[in-house]
Subunit: 245 residues, 2 copies
């Protein structure tokens, strides 16, 4: 398979690791990146600890084309992502005059030191906006700082899309059968060996009468994806498949 740009995600928050809050940003980020032709290759979830976050940011930003952090960008003591990213890249934390002015305009006489902490950025960070989304998203080199709150995370993604657009999107097809994985294995092994540019996935479904296993065929080249899918379908016995996508 060709090598698409790679990405990693760093999910930050004690609330995820304690099970108080269900992680809800990963799947939407993964799908958004796939639509941009970017492959999410690794996700790490860590606690609200600046040293841990800094170490991960350093590692993940060096080994992937893009890194997206989720969480820890509010004003309280457990929001340490800006500080950690600055530490990872060896720069200071500074107040952005532009963001400080926006905060003062928004909160007016109610504006506190706590609110102004939301203007802090790693020195030299880019402030990414679109015409519609004017509150800046912080990006330091290849590292995007996204908020943890799912509704706000989703609101920010169009800024990422606007910046990364232009890649070659993945093609994804699927076949549904009532055969189990033990029976499918020899058929799949042949297709996997003959189509190295296509990623073949096999997902058993329990507690569903309409099919037993979903097979997926993914790649950057549509013709190759379809060839792998159709080669698999051609191997199936009478009565199969249940559905082809």
């Amino acid at each position: 398979m060709d090598h698409p740009p790679s990405a990693a995600a760093l999910v930050i928050g004690d609330e995820i690791l304690s099970g108080k809050v269900e992680e809800a940003n990963l799947a939407v980020l993964a799908r958004t990146l796939r639509g941009l032709g970017v492959e999410l290759r690794r996700v790490v979830v860590v606690k609200d600890n600046a040293e841990t976050i800094a170490r991960e940011v350093r590692d993940l930003s060096r080994t992937h084309d893009w890194l997206f952090t989720s969480g820890g960008v509010g004003p309280t003591h457990d929001d340490v992502t800006v500080e950690a990213v600055a530490q990872a890249f060896g720069v200071r934390v500074v107040s952005s005059p532009e963001m400080e002015a926006m905060l003062r305009a928004h909160y007016r006489e109610r504006c506190t030191e706590g609110h102004l902490r939301m203007a802090l950025i790693p020195e030299g960070a880019a402030l990414e906006v679109t015409d519609e989304i004017t509150w800046p998203t912080i990006r330091f080199e290849n590292t995007w700082l996204l908020p943890g709150i799912p509704e706000v995370f989703r609101m920010k993604l169009p800024v990422v899309v606007a910046r990364l657009r232009g890649g070659r999107a993945f093609v994804s097809r699927a076949v549904y059968v009532k055969m189990d994985e033990g029976v499918l294995k020899p058929l799949l092994d042949g297709v996997v060996a003959a189509h190295p540019e296509v990623a073949v996935g096999s997902y058993p479904k329990w507690f569903d009468a309409s099919y037993k296993t979903k097979l997926t065929f993914d790649g950057l080249d549509e013709a190759r994806v379809l060839a792998a899918r159709d080669a698999f379908v051609a191997l199936l016995p009478a009565g199969e498949p249940q559905k082809v996508e």
Copy 2:
């Protein structure tokens, strides 16, 4: 804070990183472990690649008291977790006579080589069962191999609970207020500094009229957790809090 036993989770599967399937095991694992007094400290999500999985298993199993893997334990080409765990611990993959007999009894004349792959284990692994859950869960030293399918993952958790039971469970309390994080920050900072044994979390809620921020107070000692929570409540202005748990 006292140091409870630590745990890490390794989520395995291209389908999670591509966004085709939403990760659904992490929160239930986190809550189960907390009930056992075990702290989930780190989660890593990786692709179906044996070398990558082996490297993570080696690292995470050495740095945590327990490691739980999720996914990659079926019979197809993309199920490489058993092989990877064996590689991580430097042992061979062997067929368990006990599991092979169970598979042959279940599938009878329909039993294929594919089905028998589900009897493969890292040599020397323990096969964990309970009276109710008789299909074995593979454990190699401190590393538990759990399935990725959410319904089956949940079915297996009682086996983990039966084995780890006896720890001191975490105590978790919460306060809900209509104040925003910028205003709360100075109050929280004092409470955080005065109660080092209690983990204080602050979670803004958007799009909910009943409160604006949820504050959480967690620890192993109930009296200390309640003291931190009550110290915070005592600092609130008239009309707050909205709710105390």
